[in-house]
């Protein structure tokens, strides 16, 4: 089965231990995700590619209970749409990254919970190609209440 990343240069893929690809300012050490050509903190144009930590903690989150309008490209319809949760995940002490969570039930999500990066099939195209995206999954098994 062919598995391709939804976009180049967002995460290392294929890879045994994939990581998100960010950038780090060579002047002030600010970290961005994804890579960008200049620093949002000091304005320097000396940015270097930087792989982000694979684990982190949940800083904040919400759920997405309705089908997003285009450009959402999951191939879902209002009838087939599966609600999901989105978190802002602090990776080490470097940066907070927005990403989908693999758990969607608010009762199973808590502030500060430990999460790790996973790559998952976001959409399957007609030719069977799986389009892969990134998400964060709980490190420890989660109970049904907080």
């Amino acid at each position: 089965m062919t598995q391709i990343a939804f976009a180049p240069d967002v995460f290392t893929w294929p890879a045994d231990d994939p990581a998100l690809i960010g950038s780090r300012c060579q002047q002030c050490a600010a970290v961005t995700f994804p890579e960008q050509p200049s620093c949002p903190r000091c304005g320097s144009v000396e940015m270097a590619r930087h792989l982000l930590p694979r684990e982190g903690t949940l800083w904040t989150w919400t759920t997405q209970a309705f089908l997003p309008k285009e450009p959402y490209a999951s191939g879902e319809t209002p009838e087939t749409f599966t609600p999901f949760a989105v978190g802002l995940v602090q990776l080490g002490d470097e940066v907070r990254v927005e990403g989908r969570l693999t758990v969607a039930d608010p009762a199973r999500i808590s502030f500060g919970m430990r999460l790790r990066l996973v790559i998952f099939p976001f959409r399957t195209d007609e030719d069977g190609t799986q389009v892969m995206s990134y998400a964060f999954t709980p490190v420890e098994p989660v109970e049904g209440n907080r």
Binding site: A7, W61, P68, P71, Y72, Q90
Partner: protein, 381 residues
Amino acid sequence: MTDVAIIGVGIHPFGRFGDKSAIQMGAEAIRAALADAGVEWKQVQFAFGGSREVDNPDAVVGLLGLTGIPFMDVYNGCATAATALELTADAIRYGKYDLGVAVGMDKHSHGAFTADPVHYSAPSWYGDIGHFLTTKFFGMKINRYMHDHGISAQTLARVAAKNYRNGGLNPNAFRRKPLTEQQILDSKMLNYPLTNYMFCSPDEGAAAVVLCRADIAHRYTSHPILLRATALRTRSYGAHEVHATWAAVEHTPAPTVYASRAAYETAGIGPEDVDVIQLQDTDAGAEIIHMAENGFCADGDQEKLLAEGATEISGRLPVNTDGGLIANGEPIGASGLRQIHELVRQLRGQAGDRQVPGTPRVGYAQLYGAPGTAGVSILST
């Protein structure tokens, strides 16, 4: 610098108006503002017009009279109307003109706003994977705020119920049917902890303001309202903002805090002096956060203030007396001038059923939106 006065306000109701164009609504709002000021269109020396959907708000001149005046169009996200107001005021403050008009108009399609993420400096894949939603950001922001400061879902419902109730007193509002706190809590969860009835909707409408040099305002009106300060700010490094794939660990306050501080300093007015308040309530949580970001309470005090009814029309901190965005919807270009229209009515004692008691002397308006832009205006009698 010359002081600036507001001598006329006009509004086209907010809601849904079939085939009627935003330009027509804008022209009607300007006519209403001119009539309020006792000024004719041919006396207007210049104008700024704001819109998201209309490329050229200046096309209203085709309906008002082709007088050849300079008419500048602006778009600045949800702070568009504050931007049109500031630019109009600045042109008078710096002595270029004596009298001008700020107008905002819009006509949005149904449902949450969308666009190409690339225009917000976000990667195109950000939309592909379903993250390019303002509602998601507001859910994340208030969820963390509630966790940090002990705000309950009941308080979110209280905000929304108040704004629908105030909308019921406002003949120009979009949503005029009161809803109970329970109905609001029980409506569909859209972005946890925010339910359907806690959000405003994009809609249609227009509003306009006539401004002039304060020293000539008495030629037109016996009740000029002074525009004491306007301030606009974008986000600083460390703020967590709309349409961002990431946020810094380092923390800095939201752009509203910086705009608010600057406006208070310019006006020589503090939050304790403000009698009537209009805040950006994109959702019920935003109104709660903005109460603190604009200096009206400490973080967490909102839980008690809402329970006491402090933000009701009759309370000591009346917020969104005309129903705010939750009851009026958000035609982006017009929304902030709707706030100014309401403040002027309140400060003149002309707000009818929703008049703040006593003699309100100072009004405050705040806008906030993507990708991290805030506008604050302070008015006084």
